[in-house]
Subunit: 239 residues, 6 copies
């Protein structure tokens, strides 16, 4: 097969986060797929998206990045709340995957009940409404916030990983969680550790989201151009 | 009583729309309340918000406008999909009302079933998801799109008004609508005509939203600063 | 503006409750609106509505009071479960507001998650079903019953206020409540104290309900006379 | 077995309706059960309950009738919207069945999708909210209103029966209804005819409700006296 | 009346369970109804259905048993998850009742909130999805698993009964349960004990399911043969 | 990378169907992945699964096939209603994908509203309940049944394809469908034709399900062994 041109769109402004996700995405395809990865970092906004205000800015920046990158085969939006995803789908017929929706849909292939582990408590209402939009809230046994900010996530912060593992174990033991959703893009490099230590599948959507994006592209599924997703030039009244 | 300082935030870039809404808001308080109205128009974005992409840009612009206007007693966001409203509530303790949520909550005080009349069909999924978030979708008997763009709404376009009336009558006769939600900021000056001609209450949220904003302020209800609405400076990890 | 003729309908038989609510309603309009308040007290039924049986009697008495008071501009039903409200809307085109629905709709303008604080535990299922009808149950983080009966509510019972504050604090700390709904008409004079002491907005719907009723009237929104709300004389089969 | 003492409570004031239902109930037990039927007719209210106002009055009258009849083994409330049923359950430990809830629960034992056939269109919102409370709305393919008032229901009005059959056939053919709920107490004597002519099971809850009431009694299931159904004398604050 | 020919279908392979349920069913009709009971035991599968795999096998065996028993007046499926019930309804016009659906529908006639008490924790997701399908999950205050396997249920295991009672009391005291659903066929002979000791109605559906089956048959309600329940010979493509 | 050992499990007994799906699955991986495909056909049951009874038998046969094939890297269940899928997940830690759930989850990555096109009308309730379990029913604008049986599906029956296209066009034009779910395993070879002719993405889940299965495996996501998915030998009471 020819190359798979994936654009990884990081809605925050921290290029280290982009790099971290890019490494993981590359590893996910190594050996199978000829990946041409384009990794984009937001130029305005926050280096860590933790509030609704930051997410609003991130959404605008995300669609700008996609607009400027018109020829990818697929896009992966690397922020758990999938900022701007409906809007992004108006801009291209390439399939677009958000890591949040990828994580929720993936976990339900391997578990009937899941728990969400997140960073700050203030994000919980956004997570719950995200789950409602995706139709998965009644499969969630609870959301655990570790209180550790986005900036201190990832394998470089072993204490954070321990906090995630502790929360995951409580979710399994006290509420019957059968899988874990790690609700932060920065948790992608601890998926394996959490899975092994807690003993149930864990995902944050970066790896599986990239793979799902490839699957959609390979299956010939392109973003619809009908209804709410019709190309924008059809709007005569916009000026 | 002292003055009520209301900021009307128009998320689109058309100052004529802002003026039209400002006239209507002023009339709603005339004689009762000493209104000090500050009317703001977006400086970037679309002159008519009809797509999810335009709404994303509008949301970012909306919170920017609110950030720059720190001392109002209350805010009214003058676009039916309430762009950026959760984010806006992080920025101030003044109550914030979106015309969409105002319209849905108001109509249910005077009708048990309502229909939505909107502009372009492409907006229907956004409207339905908005109703789901507000918990009112099961009270909606249907959404009618006239196919008339945002730019051609308002009393200056009598043909549009006739199309709204025709849709409203069908909603009443065929589906049992008891009230109408006019899902576009530009429809605020036809509420009375539609109400009279169709014979059921109609609202688009500009008038009632402004009045509700005053009511919240008068009742001493301030936007919460707890949980997801905690002030942003509490986010140590943001940089 | 001319006078606003509001009828405050107290579904219980205790005139002291009516007086207490009337004082608060008057204060809510002082200085802005020329209020002509008509305060009505049920003549049969219970002095404190705490059971479904008492609510059934209260509903019948409520519509009787509204029937006898045909010329108000708006009505406020002063019992948290909004007894008889759908029926009341068949009787008049003046807008009718229940304090329960007003409280739930108001709190969601200023908070994304709320807790309910009520009197006796036996009322919890009624509260939950009320929230389901209004479409707001998934925004409620829990219901706390203090165990204090209706008769011992209000600023005259400081111990009750402390119990409400304690419950409110637990709701904020343990479940992330961002606002409080005080589910009893008798709690209207402690709203401010609870708001200040707990630090999140609190409402029981009397103040905001009266203000919303005025807003609806001012906006020209009248109760629908279509569908289920058609005038009763259309029922040929009634005798 | 000893006698089964059933109280049939007709919430409307028409003794002819009571008699009609009583005949049908007696037939349902003939040969099996030693039925002692006490048939009660409302003394105030409407002779045909078609509006929310009439239902409010009927609810109050229903609980009065049950209060006065303290020694039945079970109660059947003979009006489709089950007026006052939660309140009634506070009054006695005898099981109480409403014909509406009986009809909905029964039809789902014999059909996966049902249609509702009712009298006047104005009753549709009440029916829909009733189905939501019972958790069955997503199994309903639609509500058909014949436009024939309550007073003209029953086998004595063959034209009405034809209208019901026509509506039922459309529901089966156009929407896949597998069963019919006849949403009026006055339709109890046309169940068999409708079932045979349309070819799918039809019920209005009078027959099956009486039988279910006996089943509950026979199984030893008594109305709970816990939580919201605790006996009323526990309310110290009532006077 | 003539005899009522009921087929009790036990989806597990333990004839002792069948006998136990048969004794209870006979007692439920003694004196009233001339019962002709046919009690069937699965010949393949598990002696105790505790996993989804066992339930799949049980469903296939259940419809085989019903197919072989073509002339009953009604069927009772004696396993709480109602294995194969939709399929069973394709096979006969006799009414079919599952003990699970019977228990959930019955408890809601006598309680507004119920708790579920079950055997092993692994069955909880199945129970929750069962409640969702029946539309009753929002009336359930929680599921308590005693950890005691199916094989050790029933009056012969007094320790199990004590565990059920302890769980039931916690559900009443801590969560406001007003009734109990005992989610295992093997609990049918402890219903009375649990009801008396906990003080709220308890049911596992065997007794009430058999009585409801009789009620449906007596009311003339037959399983629909329309839509998804059309007789199988209509499927031309089956071979 | 090493080989990906996928087991394609066809729950019906028609080896031609298995072959057809196998061809399509092989093509989906050609060039990228070293696929070792094991294609299994049911040995008992129906050659076309169109009824609930046939699905029950298919579920039992499906788990038998999986039990006998213990060493695959992943499983794809090739029948749209995903028979036995929860049970299958108890049997292995390899990820298991059903074509139905794959189709619903995939379409929502590329469309906000979808329509379902199916074979016989009798299957509609099963489809609707499947969508409810997956949490996607509120994104579905309707189900169209062509009336063409399973046996006459696929590219070999051009008239069937035309019927699917006609239904798809109606769904897009009349109800705003943005994507199509083709609810039958036999439709896998017409996905491309339907997509091109109707102009919106269409999927039946065979291609995308196989690719998703590979993605899950590649991402290291294994079926949970916790909670309801714990290995069966833990059930001490089974014999």
């Amino acid at each position: 097969m020819g190359a798979f041109r994936l654009a990884l769109v990081n809605p925050n402004t921290d290029p280290a986060d982009t790099d971290e996700m890019a490494v993981i995405v590359r590893a996910a395809f190594a050996g199978d797929v000829n990946l041409e990865l384009q990794a984009l970092t937001a130029t305005t906004g926050s280096s860590a998206i933790e509030t609704a205000s930051e997410e609003v800015v991130a959404a605008a920046e995300t669609i700008e990045m996609i607009r400027r990158t018109g020829d990818a085969d697929a896009y992966l939006i690397g922020c758990f709340n999938d900022p701007g995803i409906d809007a992004a789908r108006e801009l291209t017929e390439a399939p677009i995957v958000g890591i949040g929706e990828a994580a929720y849909r993936a976990i339900l292939f391997v578990a009937r009940r899941f728990a969400v582990i997140t960073t700050l408590p203030r994000g919980v209402p956004d997570l719950e409404e995200h789950m409602e939009r995706l139709g998965v809230r009644n499969r969630c046994v609870g959301v655990w916030a570790t209180g550790v900010p986005v900036s201190d996530q990832g394998a470089a912060f072993p204490g954070t990983t321990e906090a995630i593992i502790a929360a995951g174990r409580r979710a399994v033991e006290e509420r019957g969680a059968e899988g874990l959703v790690l609700a932060c893009g920065g948790m992608s490099d601890v998926e394996t550790t959490v899975t092994q230590r807690v003993g149930v599948p864990a995902t944050n959507g970066v790896v599986i989201g990239a793979l799902f994006a490839h699957s959609l592209w390979r299956a010939g599924l392109r973003t619809s151009a009908a209804g709410s997703l019709a190309p924008l030039e059809e709007n005569a009244s916009t000026c």
